[in-house]
């Protein structure tokens, strides 16, 4: 038999690296398989910060995990599982201190503590930051730790399939992008930490590698359900044109949103919290201004930082300034930034519990690829970096516990069979003489998702979206590749990813069509209110040959009863 590791982690961002460190610390043989070198992972792009109730900031001295939990649950529109949120918010300070001890260069308070800034949906300045490159600072530290601990990484591999045998996960099949070889690797446990699917959408803040390949493999090949995929976060402030993220920290530091009448329009939507209402609310407010014409070029409103002054912008938001200079040709010190909502994050993902366990023994998931659920219907800014590290760590430890207790599973045949199946599929794709241009399928999918499953949704739009996705799935079968080269075939990689994107898109749209209420990021103009009586439950989507089959499961509520959500 070929390659074997006790634990294989798919993805080398914050959750993947943390999971690998945890499992290796437990004495297991661990390897990471990643689409890119670890520091190229999308965690790098997080800007504003990581939430933890350190109570370091003036005005936040009374903070504690319960307040953090309450804000998170209210922010989630009560769809988060409260036991899981409790774990995350209790772990938060320890996780942040651990990262600090490992070397993360957090910004500092006057007395030398970790600095914290206000973020949306939080009652206190709770978001720990390193200027506006917090994801960069954390990912580099985590990578540095992985270099120190000599974590093995298989770089530039694309996950194609998760292999099961006797109702347990026994390994994976992956494409070595470097030479085009398709290989099987056996493992006693697999942890999916491959991030989100943002690139299904046209306007996305996400890295181009965020195609949801891990989620899709779990759903399509491992047969585990996806949870709450209809909950798609639109970040209120993405740069008009490229949709590069402009951190919520820009508003946390005091930035204003203006429409074309120079009106701070948030006063009409969230009079108390204003620009620091949670993301779903601010995104809808901006989209409403745009839809009703109080905008520029029918497309954007303005984020104004000028009153913060040069010193504060240079100190706290230097990365934002660079992005504006390079990508929009303007300096936010003397010009407001054109912004519009852009797809940003998936609250939904592979259905897991707080241990990272999925419904398949030996298969775990963490980070954006997973749905524990701690974010419910809407994630608060600063909670995703926290989620990646907390649940990366926990899934790593639980995976090693599973491996140590498990009996040996002779899986060689299952792996070889799956390898042959995947090779045949790839070969069909390579040799397809179909007439369909894959770039067209990809771009129509993006447009469809923006238009039919965006910030505002209706039955008619979602039905149209679903029909279109079914059409695109048929057309996908007829695509032809432009290149059959083995080495670094981007054409092949992107079209293998496209199959998974189409599957995920279908789950998002179907879940959104069935959920006849508005909750968190999921807003139905035909059902504009939350309906706890019928819809205080998680959607589970199971793969079948004829499309997703949906069922539902209860939300865990411990100490916070659902109440009206006002800001």
């Amino acid at each position: 038999m070929g390659l074997h590791h006790q634990v294989i982690v798919v993805g080398a961002g914050l959750s993947g690296l943390r999971a690998a460190l945890a499992a290796q610390q437990d004495g297991l043989d661990v390897a990471i398989l990643s689409r890119v070198h670890p520091v190229r992972s999308h965690s790098i792009a997080a800007q504003g910060g990581i939430n933890a109730s350190l109570a370091n900031a003036e005005g936040g001295r009374d903070d504690n995990w319960e307040k953090h939990a309450f804000d998170t649950i209210k922010g989630s529109d009560y769809l988060a599982d409260q036991d899981a949120v409790e774990i995350m918010t209790k772990e938060a300070p320890g996780i942040v201190y651990e990262m600090e001890h490992w070397g993360t260069p957090f910004s500092r308070t006057i007395d030398g503590r970790i600095a914290q800034r206000p973020f949306g949906g939080a009652a206190f300045p709770r978001t720990c930051y390193a200027a506006d490159i917090t994801g960069h600072a954390l990912l580099h530290t985590m990578y540095e730790k992985s270099v120190k601990e000599e974590i093995k990484v298989y770089e530039e591999y694309l996950l194609l399939s998760i292999v099961k045998h006797d109702n347990a996960c026994v390994g994976i099949v992956a494409l070595n992008i470097n030479n085009g070889e398709i290989i099987a690797m056996s493992a006693d446990a697999v942890i999916i930490a491959s991030g989100g699917y943002g690139r299904i959408y046209g306007n996305s803040t996400n890295a181009l590698i965020n195609t949801g390949s891990g989620m899709a493999a779990a759903y399509l090949s491992a047969g585990v359900p996806l949870k709450d995929l209809e909950f798609v976060q639109f970040h209120p402030t993405s740069l008009y044109g490229t949709n590069i993220l402009i951190t919520e920290g820009a508003r946390g530091e005091g930035g204003y949103l203006f429409n074309n009448r120079h009106e701070r329009f948030m006063k009409n939507y969230a009079a108390k919290a204003m620009e620091l209402a949670p993301r779903d609310i601010v995104a809808r407010s901006i989209q409403t201004e745009i839809n009703e014409g109080r905008c520029y070029n029918n497309a954007y409103v303005l984020l104004d930082l000028r009153h913060l002054g040069r010193k504060k912008i240079m100190e706290r938001l230097p990365g934002i300034r660079d992005i504006c200079l390079h990508f929009a040709g303007l300096d936010p010190i003397n010009k407001p930034i054109p912004i519009q909502p852009g797809q940003h994050y998936s609250m939904g993902g592979i259905d897991t519990n707080a241990n990272g366990e999925t419904s398949l023994a030996g298969l775990f998931a963490a980070g954006e690829a997973a749905c524990v659920s701690v974010h419910g219907g809407n994630r608060l800014g600063g909670n995703s970096l926290l989620d990646t590290i907390v649940f990366g760590k926990l899934s790593g430890h639980f995976a090693s516990g599973y491996v140590k207790a498990k009996k040996k599973n002779a899986a060689d045949q299952a792996l070889q069979a799956e390898l042959a199946k995947v090779k045949a599929k790839v070969s069909r794709l390579e040799n397809s003489a179909g007439k369909e241009n894959p770039a067209k399928v990809r771009s129509e999918l993006k447009t469809t998702m923006m238009e039919e499953a965006g910030v505002f949704r209706t039955k008619a739009k979602l039905e149209a979206g679903l029909a279109k996705i079914k059409e695109l799935k048929e057309r996908y079968k007829q695509i032809h590749l432009l290149s059959k080269i083995k080495k670094y075939n981007l054409d092949l990689v992107r079209n293998l990813e496209l199959e998974g994107k189409l599957a995920l898109a279908e789950v998002i749209v179907l879940g959104a069509l069935k959920r006849e209420e508005s909750r968190g990021s999921h807003f139905r103009t035909d059902y504009p209110t939350r309906n706890d009586e019928h819809w205080l439950k998680h959607t589970l989507a199971h793969h079948t040959e004829s499309g997703p089959r949906l069922d539902y499961k209860a939300v865990t509520i411990t100490r916070f009863r659902p109440q009206a959500r006002t800001y």
Partner: protein, 237 residues
Amino acid sequence: MVTFKIERFNPDVDKAPYFQTYEVAAGKEMSVLEALFYVVENLDGSLAFRYSCRGAVCGSCAMRINGKNRLACQTLLKKLKSPVITVSPLPHLPIVKDLIVDMDHFFKNYEKIKPYLVNNTSAPEKERRQSILERAKIDEMIACILCGACFSACTVAATDKKFIGPAALTKAYRFWADSRDNLGDERLALVAGEHGALRCHTLFNCAEACPKNIVPTYSIQQLKGGLVKCRFSKPAK
């Protein structure tokens, strides 16, 4: 239409790199990275390049564009003000295919300098305190994205294959100067010797190439100063 001259090389089949010309229907705000995607989707599916964030933070797409090392995603065509745009892989690194170079050597150098915080006192319950001024010392260096543009632009690294190079030396300074790190002189020892910091000729090629406006030469000069001081306080026997 903008003409792109792109260097091609597949070591499996080609004897030597060659240039291929493509006509790209360029939008007003198009970046070089977007132009490369245009080629792959419309003209030639066999072109290979690295990409990830498209926002100048991940360091994947450093390449040579019109004679200068840059990030393809951050380089807008209109800024190049050139009817012909020439794109080739980062110089002085082995080509894997087309615009993709082998970064192993670059990361091996990085690993030589113990690229992680070392503090052998027991960790406090909370954070290690660090003043705003102490933190400011490393502010520039932590913006490094490990793209390799500096390393590839460095003429010393090009001629001395053992030279640690500007990115790794900047990282070494980042930890040496971090008030929380206590490896001290041992860190300097890691960058001493003929292939270490003292090898730098202060040509500033690295600084000119850095897409994040970091000046590695500053870090390297600080390390050199530290090494010289060390030598005075502990004379060689």
